[in-house]
Symmetry: C2
Subunit: 407 residues, 2 copies
């Protein structure tokens, strides 16, 4: 209960604890800088630099008139049908009844929030890798549940350490978040790691929340594998996917989740009280994006090749810069998460880079306290810009001769 002490002409004291406890992010400050500083180059973005392919926009224009009303809370049937086929074909996840096992949401972020609401009550706990996508923990805390960190280690290329996870399980733990390919580390989890998570889930009765938003962007020999496709895992996993990355349509806000009937029913019930349904024009665009397999395969391939080229380039450049290190090359998503040797916090270093190199990088600590000592570079930016940003960072570092931690 809040102490009701009226400030002059403001009810600010009514502000909930849940919002007071939200992390104070410098993301916005950095993105603001990225927009307003002359000549700044941003390696910050968490969204593709590509514009939505024309075949999608053109098809939507044709059908806009039929897309102005609400859809059912679970999503348009035509879209759910085509998603079910994709899940079976690409993810080896069998959907018996798309109506009951799938929900289309306003971005996969919303699906995650609905899922947390569905499996956790006040004070219950969800295991979350640290560092990881910056929204998991605040979402869990917003609904007054507890996020328990599983520390990830650079030495293993930020693979999940199941012993660490196991130690942190209590009778109140109801779920574990998995994110592969991972933001911010670019890690693609090995099949063995997925099998271990599956074992852990079965052993402790945990729902696995598998965020696979970057599923299409894995490079080299790495393969994306959906944990829900492992034997016997159907009832244990909610898998989350997004149209934002695969089809370069983040502004449309369409994602989806597949899982056991009871949880999808719950999430659909809650959907009535968050956004009612995913935006209908966006659902039509999403259907057109996925249904045209030839066009979608081609555009995904094109983006994947571009990302891979940039990834390789960035890895080379980082190797050549004294004081920046990548221990294990990232194999997925569109991020690189190098350690830096300088005697600064991640925030200080990111602000230093902005100041001295006029480039935006994201402090590792935005993704959890275990991100201290790291920065995230996104390569969802055109190669010439990446090149220029790295030139500037290298020059600035050469000039400044920053004090190193070990000196």
């Amino acid at each position: 209960m809040k102490e009701k002490k009226a400030l002059k002409k403001s009810l600010r004291f009514l502000m909930s604890e849940r919002t007071k406890e939200l992390p104070v992010s410098i993301f916005e400050q950095l993105f603001e800088a990225a927009k307003t500083r002359p000549g700044v180059i941003s390696l910050g973005p968490g969204e593709p630099d590509f514009v939505t392919p024309d075949y999608i926009l053109d098809a939507l224009k044709e059908r806009l008139h039929e897309a102005t009303h609400y859809s059912t809370p679970g999503g348009r049937p035509e879209l759910k049908e085509v998603i079910a086929k994709k899940l079976s074909r690409e993810n080896k996840i069998k959907v018996n009844d798309p109506e009951k096992e799938l929900i289309v949401t306003t971005g996969s972020t919303e699906a995650l929030l609905l899922a947390f609401m569905s499996i956790a009550d006040v004070t219950e706990e969800v295991l979350v890798p640290n560092p990881s996508f910056l929204a998991y923990t605040p979402m869990i805390e917003l609904i007054d549940c507890q996020s328990t960190s599983i520390p990830l280690h650079e030495e293993t290329g930020f693979q999940l350490d199941l012993d660490e996870a196991r130690k942190r399980i209590t009778p109140k733990t109801t779920g574990i978040v998995l994110n592969s390919p991972a933001n911010p580390t670019g890690t693609v989890f090995k099949k063995k790691a997925l099998e271990e998570v599956a074992e852990l889930a079965v052993e402790h009765d945990l729902m696995v929340l598998s965020d696979e938003a970057y599923e299409h962007f894995v490079f080299g020999d790495a393969k994306h594998k959906s944990i829900a496709s492992l034997n016997g895992m159907h009832e244990y996993v909610i898998s989350f996917y997004s149209f934002s990355k695969s089809y370069a349509m983040p502004g449309f806000r369409v994602g989806y989740a597949v899982g056991p009937e009871w949880v999808i029913k719950d999430m659909t019930g809650i959907h009535m009280y968050s956004t009612l349904c995913a935006p209908t024009p966006s659902q039509v665009a999403a259907f057109e994006a996925m249904n045209n397999k030839k066009e979608s395969d081609a555009s995904i391939k094109l983006m994947k090749e571009a990302y891979d080229e940039r990834r390789k380039y960035l890895l080379e450049r980082i190797k050549g810069i004294d004081g920046l290190h990548v221990k294990v090359a990232p194999e997925g998503a569109f991020y690189i998460f190098p350690r830096f040797d300088f005697k600064m916090t991640s925030r200080e270093f990111a602000l230093w880079v902005l100041d001295k190199a006029n480039a935006v990088v994201i402090p590792g600590t935005e993704f959890g306290h275990n991100g201290e000592g790291f920065i995230r570079l996104s390569y969802a930016t055109a190669l010439p810009e990446i090149e220029e940003a790295m030139n500037r960072i290298e020059e600035a570092l050469n000039k400044a001769k920053l004090k190193k931690r070990k000196e």
Copy 2:
């Protein structure tokens, strides 16, 4: 904490209490019937029967290419600018800085959820009229707060009874929901009622959450008045608006809220963890809808006249049907909320109407327990269909000679 008792191959026992406690609505069942029963006529819809005007769709098509990326969490600046002008002109709400006092959301439903999260912590209380829009109470309960009913009475045309409200305020009460024009009753709150709510809010330090989604649909001599425009109320009120009704664009999912800086900042912070931003193409459509004042005035006028004609027709018809009563003619939104005399619950009567008259009406209890004895008829349906539905209902009632409560 849940008792972990494994069902065979299902983790259903992990289902949260918050979702278990969601009301079991028959809304979906009725809408399903509305779609699948041959010849059924629905007086159920909570959305306009009109399609989004062409001037909006055409303008969006032109600009679709620039709308594929995320917007900032608060919404696109051009949209916030035009909203600020509209608020000043139509609602007499002065916005000093649209960037800080406005948030654009994925429908006004989402804005309400963000606002509840922002002003209430676990076990805190919000006053909610009963009956009212069916999402308020579940939203509040989903985040483990408490919804306290203010009973509305037929005798006064479901005006707010402030004595009833005052009695229910405790030290844990942080807000009061106001909805005028009201769903499901069609009530437009008098200026005096708004002044009394304002007094109550100041006296008890309550945030007023004023849902004005139906602002443009008030009839006869009634006037829509925004409580935030009352002297000294700026810091006490969050006002919620929607593009869904005024511009017949529910599928686009765009709404907005205006309020004191601290609460809008909070809501924008939480927005990152619900849907990140309202869908960008929808924001462009919303801008085009509102910015073209000539077209928008014309299309709102057209819809308003159509609704008013249907409202008058429905009132006449209800007068002529033995066993249905409207004590005070509704003056706004697109609903009529008649009492029925028959010895049935609202649910039973709605199902009876579906069965015998092949027409969908919504049981009053979907809007709170005080809706018992009432049904909601929507007139967001073309007049010939309303006429046919009322013919069928009248005939079915004449034929059946249902037992009345007072007999």
